[in-house]
């Protein structure tokens, strides 16, 4: 079906550019309800995402200016009978819109040769998921006073063929293993819920994750809320997944073009405090097997690595093809993995309280996502510990609040690093003077 679609688009006179992405997806899904298998699902789909561009010449001031309208639609085998109608509708929609001119992505000299598809997930049917189900039942069974509440495993394989009017032809195949599980205890409020994604089956340490969850659940049984006030906080674990999102948003060409950020290249995104670690940030779509890696992004741009922030100063924007053209900068592709340079601090030093005040080490939250425009963050604490002169005690409940620029401006980074779904960087980040609301 791809060839008839591209032939038809080549013949369409009313458009100035087009791209088609053929997406074949196979998803195998396995659901455990406590120990029982509740269901297993197999999902197959094949869709075609079609985008069209229509150029206009606009009279502006005394001259003429080129403008571009775009629109898109998704079609599949079932809708193919109405392809002409959908195409006409998209071309008409694009003709109504007059944005700054841009074109489809030119073919690049190369695309990164990344392996992103794990044969162990793609070729063996339900067998890998059945094995994971058995393993998680056994692992949960080894934890005294605890049991499995639920678990889900998804094995997705996606093949994309990408063709556009500029002559670009690209293909990529990816796999993704997604999981979630809830471990519950005899404590009436005892639950730990974990989620994760990896491209390779072998990168999922099921037994290790479950043991860590069990340890967290044991800690929570005797946990209480933190104190109220301003304290130093060390973030680790799931906090790292989004702790640096504000800076990625400030380094977004789309955000710049749409005036959602005041950031300027060469200007600082934060004021570094005394003793703070140097803050360097990269977009990297080329990390082997990382969830945020890709060969080509949805606009056809090859994956790459680009420094966005150096010593707290914005150096470059990440940009898909369209926004790169708008700002006149090199395209990087859509945001891939976020890489943060590690610091020089040892883990134990970062986890020491100072000045007679307690320190909080926080690693589990209800929902932790800083506001991408303001950088403000607030999150309910589900797991952490208070480290005080008198010792350590587990905490849960209450909230931690702060501002991303201020928090990272004061932050000390560990020398140790972790690789999470889309984050690679220091495993511990110690921020000064954040607000805790507890007792």
């Amino acid at each position: 079906m791809l060839i008839p679609i591209t032939d038809r688009l080549h013949a369409e006179e009313g458009i100035s550019g087009w791209q088609v992405r053929e997406i074949r997806k196979k998803s195998l899904q396995w659901f455990l309800n406590k120990e029982r298998t509740e269901s297993r699902r197999q999902v197959d789909s094949r869709t075609f995402e079609v985008e069209v561009l229509v150029n206009h010449v606009e009279k502006r001031g005394g001259g003429k200016e080129r403008a571009t309208g775009s629109s898109r639609f998704v079609t599949d085998e079932a809708s193919f009978g109405r392809f002409e109608e959908d195409l006409r509708s998209a071309v008409f929609a694009a003709s109504l819109v007059k944005n700054q001119a841009y074109s489809m992505t030119d073919p690049g000299p190369w695309v990164p040769n990344l392996s992103l598809a794990d044969p162990a997930l793609g070729a063996s049917g339900f067998a890998p998921l059945a094995a994971l189900s058995d393993r998680i039942r056994q692992a949960a069974g080894r934890e005294a006073g605890m049991r499995l509440g639920a678990a889900e495993f998804f094995a997705d394989t996606v093949q994309v063929r990408h063709v556009n009017s500029q002559g670009l032809q690209a293909a990529q195949e990816t796999s993704l293993l997604s999981w979630e599980f809830a471990l519950v205890s005899d404590d009436p409020s005892g639950e730990v819920f974990r989620t994760g994604k990896r491209r390779r089956l072998s990168d999922f340490d099921l037994e290790g994750d479950l043991a860590a969850a069990a340890e967290s659940l044991r800690r929570r049984a005797s946990a209480g809320p933190p104190a109220t006030g301003r304290f130093d906080v060390v973030f680790s674990g799931e906090a790292l997944d989004h702790l640096f999102d504000f800076f990625a948003a400030q380094a977004s060409a789309a955000a710049k073009y749409n005036r959602l950020t005041l950031s300027e290249p060469g200007k600082p995104l934060l004021q570094a405090g005394p003793g703070a670690s140097a803050f360097h940030l990269w977009h990297d779509a080329t990390l082997p097997w990382a969830v945020g890696s890709y060969r080509v992004d949805p606009s056809g741009v090859p994956g790459c690595r680009r420094m966005l922030v150096e010593d707290g100063v914005l150096r470059a924007y990440w940009a898909n093809s369209r926004y790169a053209q708008y700002l006149g900068i090199p395209a990087t592709g859509e945001l891939g993995n976020l890489v943060v340079a590690p610091g020089k601090h040892g883990d134990s030093g970062l986890l020491e309280a100072a000045g007679g005040r307690p320190l909080y080490h926080l690693f589990e939250f209800s929902y932790f996502e800083p506001n991408p425009v303001t950088g403000e963050f607030s999150a309910e604490i589900r797991g952490g510990e208070e480290i005080g002169p008198g010792g350590r005690r587990p905490v849960k409940g209450g909230s931690v609040s702060g501002n991303s620029a201020q928090a990272i401006g004061s932050a000390k980074f560990s020398a140790s690093t972790v690789q999470r779904e889309r984050y690679q960087g220091p495993g511990l980040v110690r921020c000064e003077n954040l607000t805790l609301a507890g007792d």
Binding site: M1, S27, F31, K34, T37, E38, S39, R40, R41, Q42, V43, D44, R46, T47, S71, R72, E77, A78, F80, G81, F83, D86, S89, A90, F92, A93, A94, L96, V97, K98, N99, Q100, R147, G149, A150, E180, V184, P188, S189, E191, G229, N258, R259, L260, T261, L262, Y367, V373, T374, E376, S378, A379, E380, R382, K396, G398, S399, S401, L436, A437
Partner: protein
């Protein structure tokens, strides 16, 4: 380009045949199919877009072997391909059956088509009119604030058509809805902030107009946030507007009474059935029949006919929201809450329109009753904790109340955390007003997005804010 043989309009009969054939191999089978189409038009200060979403359709056939479901989902709607895939899976399901298992109740026989009426059907409205309306919203919003860096008007519509078939039922429904939203980004040279508002309604374009009336107020509120400090943490008396009340309803007891979570030992609600969990003036509903709301439907994705569920009745937890599997294993009466994100996903127990019932007090009385506290508006997000009964609700606006009057002091953002029964037991006044804005949706954990609405009256209660 070849046309396919299987069309959505003919799916009911085809799926009935598949179900009949599958039930020769497994004890119970059902089928669900959906088609969605609509348009999204947006105009901002920097660009505009009109995206007509072509029909997206697919189906799921569920095969129950007495112990577990085997499900086949596809958008390859070639009859032989579907039949072959389903029957291969049915053979696997039958082979995996270990004992007698449980029967699933197909419910009473019914063949019916349902439809939400739309005076101006979304599929008949012109693309240009939708873009023009988005532009009207954008211009009104942009003109309302000299500090606007970007103002956006967005209008969209979606028509969802669904089919459900089992051995007793042949159901179909058509659910049109329209949404309008506006978002403004303001800056004062050093600080940037953003605020949004809008509404979603079941029906057609006769519902539009909300944003044009609210644009000036939204812009003024956004400007006030530029100088708003953060809140000092502490416990406060609060008055929540209907949107905040709705978030409390959804996060506090919505997720906590989805009965699939009961079955997994993941919700404390199961231990509190028929026990007090909120103050005696508190009543909470989940109601997929609420007229005009965009979470409204006629049957769920497992064939249960829609009806209101009174979750909390005058402070007592009475009933949960069920999907087929959990209702069967728990022995609960079914409610119409078995919902899928799409044909590609599993059905879970999910909310629909969830809200606190109105009470007896004028909203002004709630403000007047607070000596020192905050008025909460513009909620942004929340997160459930059904097992621990913790709660997290975040928003962008907390306005100081002193001496029973609203002051000019606004702090932002604001997070409310606490223990659900403490929050609900502290509800001391319930407004006699009622509103559901209808925007947004709901995930289960971190995925499985479905359209829901939430709202209710103004509420007065006590909460930990920061």
């Amino acid at each position: 380009m070849a046309d396919k043989k299987l069309r959505f309009e003919g799916l009911k009969d085809f799926l009935a045949g598949i179900v009949e054939e599958a039930e020769k191999v497994v004890p119970y089978a059902s089928a669900f199919a959906m088609r969605r189409q609509g348009v999204r038009a947006s105009v901002s200060s920097t660009q505009s877009a009109v995206v007509p979403e072509a029909p997206w359709m697919g189906l799921t056939v569920s095969l129950w072997n007495g112990e577990q479901f085997f499900e086949y989902s596809s958008n390859h709607l070639d009859p032989e391909s579907v039949r072959g895939g389903v029957m291969r899976l049915a053979a696997e399901a039958a082979a995996a059956r270990a004992g007698e298992g449980r029967d699933l109740d197909p419910g009473p026989a019914l063949e019916k088509h349902f439809e939400i009426s739309a005076a101006r059907d979304p599929l008949a409205a012109k693309l240009k009119d939708k873009l023009d309306y988005a532009r009207q919203m954008q211009e009104k919003l942009a003109g309302a604030s000299p500090k606007a860096r970007n103002a956006a008007g967005i209008c969209s519509d979606l028509v969802t058509e669904e089919v459900y078939v089992n051995r007793a039922k042949r159901l179909s429904q058509r659910l049109p809805r329209v949404e309008e939203a506006m978002q403004i980004t303001v800056a004062d040279g050093t600080r940037t902030t953003q605020l949004w508002d809008g509404q979603s309604r079941a029906g057609g374009w006769e519902n539009r107009g909300y944003c044009l009336e609210k644009a000036a107020g939204l812009a003024a509120d956004a400007e006030r946030l530029l100088s708003a400090p953060r809140m000092e943490p502490g416990f406060h008396d609060v008055v929540a507007d209907p949107s905040w009340s709705g978030m409390l309803a959804h996060e506090a007891f919505g997720h906590g009474t989805e009965t699939d979570m009961y079955l997994k030992d993941r919700a404390k609600g199961r231990e509190y059935m028929d026990k007090p969990v909120a103050s005696a003036i508190t009543t909470l509903f989940d109601d997929p029949t609420l007229p005009g709301q965009s979470g409204t439907f006629f049957f769920d994705h497992e064939g249960a006919l829609a009806a209101p569920t009174k979750v909390i009745d005058r402070g007592i937890l009475r009933r949960g929201m069920t999907d087929l599997y959990s209702a069967t294993f728990l022995g609960y009466e079914r409610s119409a809450n078995g919902r899928r994100e799409s044909w590609e996903r599993k059905a879970y127990a999910r909310m629909t329109n969830t809200f606190f019932a109105p009470g007896a007090s004028d909203p002004g009385e709630l403000i007047a009753s607070v000596e020192d506290g905050f008025y909460l508006r513009y909620p942004s997000n929340g997160m459930e904790d059904p097992k621990g009964w913790g709660i997290q609700c975040e928003g962008l606006w907390a306005q100081r109340i002193r001496g029973g009057r609203l002051t000019d002091e606004v702090v932002s953002p604001v997070i409310m955390t606490g223990f659900v029964p403490d929050s609900l037991q502290s509800i001391s006044l319930v407004g006699n007003d009622f509103r559901i804005d209808g925007l947004g949706g709901c995930g289960k954990g971190h995925k499985e997005y479905v359209k829901v609405t939430l709202g209710g009256p103004h509420l007065r209660f006590r909460a930990r804010l920061a």
